[in-house]
Symmetry: C2
């Protein structure tokens, strides 16, 4: 890899912190553990080159569950594609721990960071959000998995087996079409705050523009929640939030139009005035807090 920078990222999923084994299949746990790391690479615009899987296995984990977990991981790795180059197995006296490290590469000055935004930049979001939080709500409410309607099934699938926006992050980075990027591991409000803080700007999110997933809209009321709250504070959507200079807008939209299966929505802007705000038809409210795990 001549003239390329290596980036490394690590993220772990821990039983009873990030998932529960009686709600979530081992296959989904394996998938998600890799997806959250690929999402970190996507937010940097780095192409994945190698991944490592480190597992701490409780004594009551059955061999079939172990096989499924590894299969969920490897299936996503094959699809990315990125080789699983090593790892570590040990036993755990407590929870199942799935620790993943991913290495990626990007050319110098093509890496995306959170800190490149400036006042006046527009904010664009991939896909739609809120579904993962709705899916978690549906599982927490004890829904019967075999009897979910399509909207509920889509939310649960989004929660358990998120996609990383690798192609989109890499293309935008290669074309230097955005000024900064962050992924939505802990909700839009948290992502916007992180991008603004790193860029030393304020931020305003336009409430009417936020693309809420139809499954989240369908299920929010039944779960006793506001769909906008799922979208702003619900975690684990793993979409990407980009900031884009106004003069980059055309190049950015042309680049993202070539990304597979991803729509982009303008959801707000960076401001010179500090603070993180939600614009509800001209009235500014403070943006709420991000997502907390169990």
């Amino acid at each position: 890899m001549r003239n390329e920078l290596n980036v490394l990222t690590t993220d772990s999923l821990i039983e009873d912190v990030h998932f529960r084994r009686n709600w979530t299949s081992a296959r989904a746990i394996g998938h998600k553990a890799l997806a959250v790391n690929l999402s970190d690479l996507a937010a940097m615009g780095a192409a994945p080159r190698a991944v490592l899987l480190s597992l701490a296995l409780p004594a009551d984990l059955e061999l079939a569950e172990f096989d499924e977990l590894v299969d969920g991981f490897v299936t996503l790795a094959d699809a990315a594609p990125v080789p699983l180059v090593g790892g570590n197995l040990t036993r755990s006296p407590g929870p199942l721990v799935v620790d993943v490290t991913a290495m990626g590469t990007a050319r110098p000055r093509r890496l995306l960071s959170r800190g490149g935004g400036r006042p006046g930049d527009e904010l664009y979001l991939t896909g739609s959000i809120g579904a993962a939080a709705a899916g978690l709500g549906i599982l927490t409410a004890g829904a019967d998995r075999t009897r979910l309607d399509d909207a509920a099934a889509a939310c649960v699938s989004r929660y358990e087996q998120p996609d990383a926006r690798l192609d989109c992050g890499i293309q935008v980075a290669r074309n230097r079409a955005a000024s900064a990027c962050v992924d939505l591991s802990d909700g839009l409000a948290d992502a916007a705050r992180q991008l603004a803080r790193a860029s030393r700007t304020g931020v305003v999110i336009d409430a009417t523009a936020v693309p809420i997933h139809p499954g989240a809209l369908a299920w929010a009321t039944g779960l006793g929640q506001d769909a906008m709250q799922f979208a702003l504070s619900g975690g684990e959507d793993y979409e990407l939030l980009f900031s884009v200079r106004r003069r980059q807008r055309r190049a950015f939209l042309a680049t993202t139009a070539r990304c597979r299966d991803v729509t982009l929505t303008r959801v707000g802007r960076l401001t010179a005035e500090p603070g993180t705000w939600l614009d509800r038809a001209g009235r500014l409210e403070p943006l709420g807090d991000g997502f907390t795990h169990f």
Copy 2:
């Protein structure tokens, strides 16, 4: 890094599997978690370039312990030297989990593997062994740390804060002075078996040549153990075992003579006949099993 290969390795330390918090200081846990990964790089002859630290923290871990753990890690990283480039913090509902990933580089065809040995190759071991197992035995027996004699203190220190033989592994690899290498995470018997299996050879260890650490010799009887058993089956010494072609012997010894603070001992040979054997003054016995954690 033009013309260099990246290698990645990951290894974790888990409370009540690899250490106990009431025996081992947080500083030592941080040190050891990095040292075992640096030892993996040393066995490949790769120079460390970056490390990641991923921690799952139980609620009862005090802030001072967390600080000490990170300090133990960073102090060794500074000494290596290798930069800590990132990591992850999460809470654990169970044990303290310290997961480390290390990236190293080596030039192509300079990497050491376990599989390059051939029948007739001589086996060389760095340093002396058995001290870590004796140190664990001393801690398990409930010895008063403030009243250890010098031999016991040396054993406990070796168990808690092992050194990785980085300089030696890297120099041997750069000079292509060995045919294969493995580190002693689980004892000499296990290391010899792994090197022989990967090289598709048999192996004979010469019992009279094994360099047993003086602390292990001094403490074995008091702990009701045979010192040779500590040396063969006691884990966590993190020395390196090299196989060396006879015609490489002079180059190997010249290279290792320049390694800092490391003595090399010829401890055996690879054979065409399969099997893993201990040669006790001409009588061959099967080599015992490796080390198992708690």
